[in-house]
């Protein structure tokens, strides 16, 4: 077995040194009859060639986003990642390190976490950010729990524009902890009456912008009313590149901002691993979940970085911790940070502009297809179209024509009666040819 360095001679010598006759003597605490006599019923070891063949075959049965005109979004987006990013994150010292428990030999990790926290705070317009969450959806669940701790209330109000998977994650957590959740009905027009839900019993209002239908939302009035009633505004985004073009939630007085960072530096990966961004007002840092990296000095006065404020965490506070999280998405954070560093403000702004321009072009084009209407007034790189047929059928028919044309709303919200709606996303990777192919194929299948 190519990964195992011990030889049979080594094993014999070592067993003798340990003072046992055979390896099973070291498993003597396993109850009688429970120790397996031989290998379980799975295939034996295979060489690299065969593993590549087996997995290559499975991979080959999937349609890769880059192989076709591709317009699928709804919380995960196809973007171009510079070659440098994947090269750097595969540096052994990054790829094969662990959580930086020994800061003197983990300054590489710690410094990029500090850079990440600063970038996320700047992007969201917030005062502090943590060193990442698993992803945007679980981060949203944690944000709700954090709001409960801050306000000592246990009722969350979720906008109908929140990604339904995010809503489900919050509901799952809340139902288990007997907390109350009011999830407003999905409303593609973004005219839901969220303000009337806010009273003195509410701990937080969770609003996504751009929302799951692509609408840009006005957060300020919600923040104002929430604050007047002692509640927090949690602002969510699933497309971080939008922050290069739109007013950041911090400028609208959000208390906690949480979002998905996959778009920067990270591949689609069929849903994960992704990276959750989490930022807040600094008065709440001791209630934040997850890891935090802080600046300090070493014994000679040189600047260095460490994981800090660990007295919030599970390994110290156990059942009183702010969360049960003991990791972050380190390597995905690194990819995010490198890509964001390459972009810089000017690159991010340009990237956002191209995303928006491509989406506008596509919306105009699709609106010209007979029977199709674009429902959004304002949007960033994703919008909703109404079709004369169930969107799920249309998407399948488009796939047969070699176009991946978006996400049927019915897939996200089965039974909501929104079967004729299709979410369409466009990014910098789409070309005029892609858009033309989409519009042509759509006209054909309708």
């Amino acid at each position: 077995m190519r990964y195992l360095p011990l030889t049979d001679t080594d094993r014999e010598d070592m067993l003798a040194r340990v003072g046992v006759s055979d390896i099973d003597a070291l498993f003597s605490d396993v109850p009688a009859g429970k120790l397996l006599k031989g290998p379980v019923d799975l295939p034996r070891a295979r060489g690299e060639i065969e593993v590549e063949r087996i997995l290559g075959k499975m991979a080959g049965r999937n349609t890769a986003a880059s192989a076709v005109p591709f317009f699928v979004g709804a919380g995960a987006y196809k973007h171009h990642v510079p070659a440098t990013v994947d090269h750097l994150i595969q540096r052994s010292e990054f790829l094969t390190s662990y959580t930086p428990y020994q800061p003197e030999i983990a300054q590489g990790t710690l410094q990029y976490l500090f850079e990440f926290q600063t970038q996320v705070a700047a992007l969201t317009g917030m005062e502090v950010a943590n060193a990442s969450m698993y992803d945007g959806s679980t981060g949203t669940g944690e944000a709700v729990l954090m709001a409960h701790r801050v306000t000592r209330r246990r009722k969350a109000v979720l906008s109908g524009g929140l990604h339904p998977h995010y809503t489900d994650v919050v509901k799952t957590l809340s139902e288990m902890a007997n907390d109350e959740v009011v999830a407003l009905k999905a409303d593609v027009s973004a005219n839901e009456d969220i303000l009337s839900q806010i009273d003195d019993s509410v701990s937080c209002i969770v609003v996504q912008s751009p929302d799951v239908f692509g609408n840009l939302r006005d957060l300020k009035p919600i923040a104002e009313k929430a604050h007047a009633h002692g509640a927090l505004l949690i602002a969510v985004f699933t497309e971080v590149i939008s922050l290069g073009a739109v007013v950041p939630p911090g400028a609208e007085d959000a208390d906690i901002v949480v979002g998905e960072g996959q778009s920067i530096g990270n591949a689609l990966n069929f849903g994960g691993p992704y990276v959750g961004l989490f930022a807040a007002k600094s008065k709440y840092i001791r209630q934040m979940p997850g890891r935090l990296c802080g600046e300090t000095v070493d014994s000679t006065g040189q600047r260095g970085f460490v994981l800090t404020l660990s007295t919030r965490e599970q390994h110290i506070r156990r059942d009183k911790a702010t969360s049960n999280i003991c990791t972050n998405s380190g390597l995905c954070v690194l990819a995010f940070t490198i890509h964001m560093t390459l972009l810089g403000q000017s690159g991010l702004t340009r990237l956002a502009e191209v995303n928006h321009a491509n989406a506008v072009k596509l919306a105009d084009l699709l609106a010209g297809v007979k029977g199709v209407s674009v429902l959004n007034e304002s949007f960033f790189n994703e919008f909703t179209v109404k079709l004369p047929k169930p969107a799920a059928e249309v998407v399948e028919a488009l796939a047969e024509k070699g176009v991946l044309g978006g996400v049927p709303v019915s897939r996200l919200m089965p039974g909501a009666g929104l079967d004729d709606l299709l979410l369409v996303a466009s990014t910098e990777v789409n070309t005029d040819d892609d858009r033309a192919a989409f519009a042509k194929a759509l006209a054909e299948v309708l």
Binding site: R2, Y3, L4, L6, D29, L42, P43, R44, E52, G56, A59, G60, A64, K78, R91, E93, F94, L95, T96, Y98, P103, I105, G108, L113, E115, Q119, A122, Y134, D135, S137, V169, E175, D218, E260, A267, L268, G272, E295, T300, G301, Q302, F305, Q314, H315, R318, D319, K320, N324, T327, S329, G330, L331, V333, L343, S346, G347, L351, E377, A399, V407
Partner: protein, 525 residues
């Protein structure tokens, strides 16, 4: 040292002996400023063409003003992050004996497979007809996990071990509620020696926690568990092999006692890597167990993740598994069940743990590892991991103290600081001195039930020669610590890129992001 904007790159004054050079750099150990100190908001490392003029649809939401993000050109960014990488220790750098965390060889084949466009470049919501291979991979991974654990069901989607714990405990809670006992069964037993995630998880989902004492030999006694059992007990969360590196000898009796009392047995599977192919949790009476793919199946954990925490479930809990899951339809066609509404007859999913389908990138890596090892290799890997840990134990037991000498160590060996008494050297000092010898320290001060704990996990990745050198090094350090060489320890590390860091200061005056220094402040310094 000043950056190119003339700002200091250090928060404090460095001493003169540290500044032997004009730059403050020491050959390959270079001081690396933050991107905010070397970058510029006009600089970019990507070329993106300006779009032709178009009519914006952002409305009143368009952003105004600066974001405050510096950029670096590609060569600058490359150099910055390569230099940062050189300040990190990884398993490819050397032995990384972090017990309870597990750092084993990260095969690059796994990386290569995960980067196949058919896995990395597929969207979770593209039509299922365009991703049959992805569903097949998930099903295959599920089959491997179920076979290795002897359990009938698995929930793949949890994103980390602690997330998996929550998933398993939610399934237990759902099962209890289905029996109408939700209001009364609300206490979870957690041994004192457990990972902090266990009590945190139980609390997260509304259980209260009762501690089970540790026996003097480091294990949990079935009598102690039985004494706590009653109609209020929902479950026990027991780590096996436990955090002291010992296989719980009474695990079968504990499971039986839980079941008899109408409660469930959650097994923290963080240390499953000790017994893969040797014993199956399903045979021991486990109802739910998470598996940290990065620990047991060698997916990389670059600086803190991403992890992945699939949970295997017993027959009693299987119906409650969260969405999404793969459903094999009549005729063998694979379908992904994504919502509670679509769940086939007999399934009562308790909800959803995360958006989309979980950590696909980790599934591919773990499966590549499993295929490479095969059933024979995985069994051998567990045996080698256990042998290596006991070999280290045998090599050090005469110098360092073992708190629990009566049980064989599994994949990790636990020492305490009894042997350091009177030396003036603490566990932390000893750990920092290991850095000077070129080793990442072991896990220190965990488990909490042992004073000054040192938990060493070599894993199966280490050769005998590597272990021999490690043992010899620790013996040398141990003798120095017991001798009069206190200074070597208390001021260690001496040879790391940075000296010992002031963690108290970081916590008392938290600085969590870079702030542009005020000009007056720079002058004052």
């Amino acid at each position: 040292m000043l950056n190119r904007q003339g700002r200091p790159t250090q928060a404090g004054e460095a001493s003169h002996e540290e500044h032997l050079t004009f730059t403050g750099n020491k050959a390959l150990q270079q001081i690396e400023p933050l991107i905010f100190e070397i970058g510029h908001h006009e600089t970019t490392g990507v070329d993106i063409e300006k779009p032709a003029p178009f009519k914006s649809r952002l409305g009143k939401h368009a952003r105004q003003g600066e974001i405050g993000l510096p950029g670096l050109s590609e060569p600058e960014a490359m150099r910055h992050y390569v230099r940062l990488s050189q300040k990190n220790y990884g398993i490819d750098t050397g032995l990384f004996p972090l017990g309870s965390c597990t750092m084993k060889h990260n095969a690059r084949l796994n990386e290569k497979m995960a980067r196949l466009p058919g896995f990395s470049d597929v969207h979770p919501l593209q039509p299922l007809s365009t991703v049959p291979g992805a569903l097949e991979l998930m099903l295959e991974l599920a089959n491997y996990l179920m076979t290795l654990t002897g359990m009938p069901a698995v929930a793949l989607s949890p994103k980390a071990g602690a997330h998996g714990e929550a998933c398993g405990m939610m399934a237990i809670k759902a099962a209890i509620e289905a029996k109408g006992e939700g209001a009364t069964r609300n206490v979870v037993l957690v041994p004192e020696s457990a990972h902090g995630t266990n009590p945190a998880t139980a609390a997260l989902i509304g259980f209260s926690v009762k501690a089970v004492p540790a026996r003097p030999d480091g294990t949990v006694a079935v009598e102690d568990v039985k004494a706590l059992l009653g109609p209020d007990i929902a479950a026990i969360m027991l780590t096996n092999p436990n955090t002291c590196g010992i296989f719980e000898p009474q695990i079968v009796e504990i499971a039986a006692a839980m079941h008899e009392a109408g409660a469930y047995f959650y097994c923290d599977g963080a240390n499953f890597n000790a017994i893969v192919g040797k014993a199956r949790p399903g045979d021991l009476g486990v109802d739910a167990m998470h598996i940290n793919l990065h620990k047991t199946f060698s997916t990389p954990h670059g600086g803190g993740g991403p992890g992945a925490g699939p949970v295997v479930l017993s027959e009693r809990l299987a119906p409650f598994a969260p969405v999404p899951f793969i459903h094999v339809e009549d005729g063998g066609k694979l379908h992904l069940i994504e919502s509670r509404e679509e769940a086939p007859e007999g399934n009562k999913p308790f909800g959803r743990m995360t958006a989309f389908h979980g950590q696909m990138g980790m599934y591919v890596r773990a499966l590549a590892y499993m295929l490479s090892h095969g059933s024979d290799g995985m069994r051998q890997a567990s045996e080698d991991a256990v042998l290596n840990a006991n070999y280290i134990r045998a090599g050090l037991a005469d110098l360092m103290s073992l708190p629990f000498p009566d049980h064989p160590s599994m994949h990790e060996v636990l020492f305490d600081d009894e042997w350091l008494k009177g030396s003036g050297v603490s566990t932390l000092d000893f750990a920092k001195a290991m850095i000077d010898e070129g080793y990442h320290p072991m896990t220190v001060y965990f488990p909490l039930v042992v004073h000054g704990a040192m938990l060493i996990e070599p894993t199966e990745s280490e050769s005998k020669a590597s272990l021999d050198l490690f043992i010899a090094t620790l013996r040398d350090l141990a003798m120095a610590a017991k001798g009069n060489d206190k200074e070597r320890f208390t001021s260690a590390p001496h040879h790391a890129p940075i000296r010992r860091l002031d963690e108290t200061r970081a916590a008392r005056q938290p600085v969590l992001k870079w702030e542009k220094p005020a000009p007056a402040k720079v002058a004052a310094e």
